[in-house]
C-alpha cells in the first residue's frame, strides 16, 4: 500500500501570534515551527499501516526550503521518503492544487492530511484534493482501519458519530483517536538524513483569495471577581449585564 501524508509546517502551539508589515504578514520572528499536530496523527497512522513491509509512506510538504527541518522530523518518525514542492504555500487552494497535481502522476492508495492546519484553520486542503482528483473523502476522521482494499472510517457528526466504508483510494483528514503521535528516536533521526527528499517545482495556480491584514482579538476588560458566597450575584450579572441567560 502506498500512503501519502501531507504535512503542514506550523508555529508551535505555545507561540504568541503577532504581525508585521503593517499587520499584513504573520511575524515569524522567534517562532519555532513544528509538524502540524493533526498531521503527526496522520503520519503515525500511516507508519503503523505500512509497518512490516506492508507499504511505503511518502510525506509531502508544499513549502520553501525553510520547512526542511520539519520534513526531516517526519522522516525521523518513520516515513520512507519525502517530497517538497518548492513554493510558499499561498493559500489552501494553491496547496491543494500542488498536491493533486503530484498525485495525478504518482498515484497513492491512501492520502492522509490532518483535520486542519492550526495556522489558517481552513480544513479545506483534504476536500479540495479529493474533489480535484474525483476521489471520496472524509474531512474529519476519528478512527481509520484498512482491510484489503476497504477503509472503515468513523467520523464526527453533530451530536454523535458515523461509521462508513469506502474503497481505496480515499482522502482522509485525521483527528485525535486515529493514532497516537510518534516521537522520533535517535536511530530515526540518524536514518532520516539518508532518506530521499525530492524537491519538485510548483505548478501555476490562479490566486482567488488573499489575506490583506490581520488583527488581534479585542482584549477583554479585567475580570469581575465575584465572592464565592455570592453566586446569586453572578447569575444576576449574566442575566442583566452579559445578557446570556
Amino acid at each position: 500500500m502506498k500512503i501519502l501524508v501531507c504535512i503542514s509546517n506550523v508555529p508551535d502551539t505555545t507561540s504568541k501570534i503577532t504581525f508585521t508589515n503593517n499587520n499584513a504578514s504573520f511575524n515569524e520572528n522567534g517562532i519555532q515551527f513544528i509538524i502540524n499536530p493533526y498531521d503527526e496523527i496522520a503520519l503515525a497512522k500511516a507508519i503503523g499501516l505500512a509497518a512490516n513491509g506492508n507499504g511505503k509512506v511518502t510525506v509531502l510538504n508544499v513549502g520553501e526550503v525553510s520547512t526542511e527541518p520539519t520534513i526531516r522530523k517526519a522522516l525521523a518518525c518513520g516515513a520512507d521518503e519525502a517530497v517538497r514542492i518548492d513554493a510558499a504555500p499561498r493559500d489552501a487552494w494553491f496547496v491543494a492544487n500542488q498536491i493533486a497535481d503530484y498525485v495525478r502522476t504518482n498515484p497513492y492508495d491512501l492520502i492522509l492530511t490532518g483535520r486542519e492546519s492550526i495556522d489558517y484553520n481552513g480544513a479545506q486542503v483534504q476536500s479540495y484534493v479529493a474533489e480535484l482528483l474525483s476521489l471520496p473523502s472524509v474531512a474529519i476522521a476519528k478512527k481509520l482501519d484498512i482491510t484489503d482494499n476497504e477503509a472503515t472510517i468513523e467520523r464526527e457528526i453533530e451530536g454523535g458519530k458515523e461509521v462508513l466504508t469506502v474503497n481505496l483510494p480515499v482522502v482522509v483528514g485525521t483527528a485525535e483517536g486515529v493514532a497516537e503521535p510518534k516521537i522520533p528516536n535517535v536511530r530515526g533521526i540518524m536514518d532520516a538524513r539518508k532518506k530521499p527528499l525530492n524537491v519538485i517545482p510548483p505548478i501555476e495556480v490562479t490566486q482567488l483569495s488573499k489575506i490583506t491584514s490581520f488583527e488581534s482579538p479585542v482584549p477583554r476588560g479585567t475580570v469581575n471577581l465575584i465572592d464565592k458566597e455570592q453566586v446569586n450575584q453572578l447569575v444576576e450579572l449574566l442575566h442583566s449585564e452579559a445578557k446570556v441567560i
Binding site: 502551539t13 484553520n121 471520496p136 490581520f214 471577581l225 446569586n232
Partner: protein
C-alpha cells in the same frame, strides 16, 4: 440572480446555525439586490421547511432523492452545485459545520468559485471583490481576506451572526437531480447520536471542566449545571486524553473550536492551547481555586474557590432564577 443558501438538517430538523445562515444570506442578498433560495436535501417535513421563509427565504428548494438517504459529501456537493447552476447563483452560503467542512471546498471546485471558510461577518462588497473576516491561528487572530472570483462559496462559522426574522410567504419547490455512481462511493454503516444532549458545535452555552475535577466520577455536578442552563458539556485535553470524557468534548487548539455566548470553565488552568479554541466565546466565566490561574486574565467573570462547593450552589441559583 439569487443567493443560494444550503441548510443542513439533522434527522429532519434544522439547527440554529441553519437559520443564522439564512439570515446571513438575506442580508447579503439585500446588498446585492437579489433573492434568497434556501436549499434543503433529504426528508424534512413541510412545517420545518416553512420555517426557512420565516427568516426570509424567498424560495425553498427541496431535494428528496431515493439514492441518497444519508449525507455523502461528494453527492451533496454535486446536488448543491447543480442547483446553483440551474438558479444562476453566484453566491453560495452554508454553515461551517462538520458536514459543511467536507462540502464547501468541493462545491467551490465544481463552480470555479473562491471559498471563504469560517467567515465571521457580512462581507464588504465592491463589485466582484468582496472583503470578509475569518478567524485564524485557532482564534488567536482575525484575518481580513479578499475574495476575487466571480462565484463565491462562504462557509459561515456558527454563532457569529444573529438570526433575524424576516417573514415572507413560504414557497416550496422540488428539484430533481440525478446522481452518478461515483458520487455514491461511500456507504454509511452506522450513525450513533446522543439525542438527549445539546451538541457542542451548535451550543449557545458551554459548561467545560478540566483536570481540577480530579476524576470522571465527579462530572455529575458539571452535567447538572449544563442541564439547568440547556448547555453542552466540554473538557480540556488532558481530561479526554485520560478517558474521563469522550474526545468529542475536547476543546482548544487541537480540539473543537467553539464560540458560544457563554463559556463556563471549571477547574481549567487556561493554558494557551486551551484558550486558542475558546477565547472567541462572547462571555467567559471561570471557576478555579487558584487566584493566579491564567484563565482569569481572559475571563469576564470569575469566582475563586473550590468547584465542588461552588458549582452545586451555582446550579441551585440558576434553578431559582429560572423559576
Amino acid at each position: 440572480m439569487s443567493v443560494l443558501v444550503y441548510i443542513e438538517n439533522i434527522e429532519g430538523t434544522f439547527k440554529k446555525s441553519g437559520f443564522e445562515a439564512v439570515s446571513y444570506a438575506k442580508t447579503i442578498a439585500g446588498l446585492l439586490g437579489e433573492e434568497v433560495n434556501a436549499l434543503s436535501i433529504g426528508a424534512v417535513p413541510p412545517a420545518e421547511l416553512e420555517k426557512l421563509a420565516q427568516y426570509g427565504a424567498d424560495k425553498v428548494i427541496k431535494i428528496e432523492n431515493d439514492q441518497l438517504k444519508q449525507f455523502i459529501n461528494q453527492a451533496y456537493a454535486q446536488l448543491i452545485a447543480n442547483v446553483a447552476k440551474s438558479t444562476g447563483a453566484k453566491t453560495i452560503i452554508l454553515s461551517n459545520t462538520f458536514n459543511g467542512k467536507g462540502l464547501a471546498p468541493r462545491i467551490a471546485v465544481k463552480l470555479d468559485a473562491v471559498l471563504c471558510d469560517g467567515a465571521i461577518n457580512i462581507p464588504a462588497i465592491a463589485g466582484d471583490v468582496w472583503t470578509i473576516k475569518k478567524s485564524v491561528f485557532s482564534s488567536k487572530a482575525i484575518a481580513t481576506e479578499e475574495l476575487k472570483a466571480a462565484v463565491k462559496v462562504i462557509a459561515l462559522t456558527p454563532n457569529s451572526v444573529e438570526t433575524k426574522e424576516a417573514p415572507v410567504p413560504a414557497q416550496i419547490e422540488t428539484f430533481q437531480s440525478e446522481l452518478l455512481s461515483n458520487d455514491l462511493a461511500t456507504t454509511i454503516q452506522e450513525i450513533v447520536r446522543a439525542t438527549d444532549k445539546v451538541s457542542l458545535p451548535d451550543a449557545t452555552i458551554v459548561v467545560s471542566a478540566g483536570r481540577g475535577m480530579k476524576g470522571p466520577e465527579n462530572w455529575r455536578i458539571i452535567e447538572e449545571l449544563a442541564d439547568v442552563l440547556g448547555a453542552a458539556t466540554a473538557c480540556s485535553k488532558p481530561v479526554s486524553d485520560a478517558g474521563w470524557r469522550p474526545h468529542a468534548e475536547h476543546v482548544g487548539q487541537t480540539g473543537l473550536a467553539v464560540s458560544p455566548n457563554l463559556y463556563i470553565a471549571i477547574g481549567i488552568s487556561g493554558a494557551i492551547q486551551h484558550l486558542a479554541g475558546v477565547s472567541s466565546s462572547k462571555t467567559i466565566v471561570v471557576i478555579n481555586k487558584d487566584p493566579d490561574a491564567p484563565f482569569f486574565k481572559v475571563a469576564d467573570y470569575g469566582i475563586v474557590g473550590d468547584a465542588f462547593e461552588i458549582v452545586p450552589k451555582l446550579t441551585e441559583a440558576i434553578k431559582a432564577f429560572k423559576n
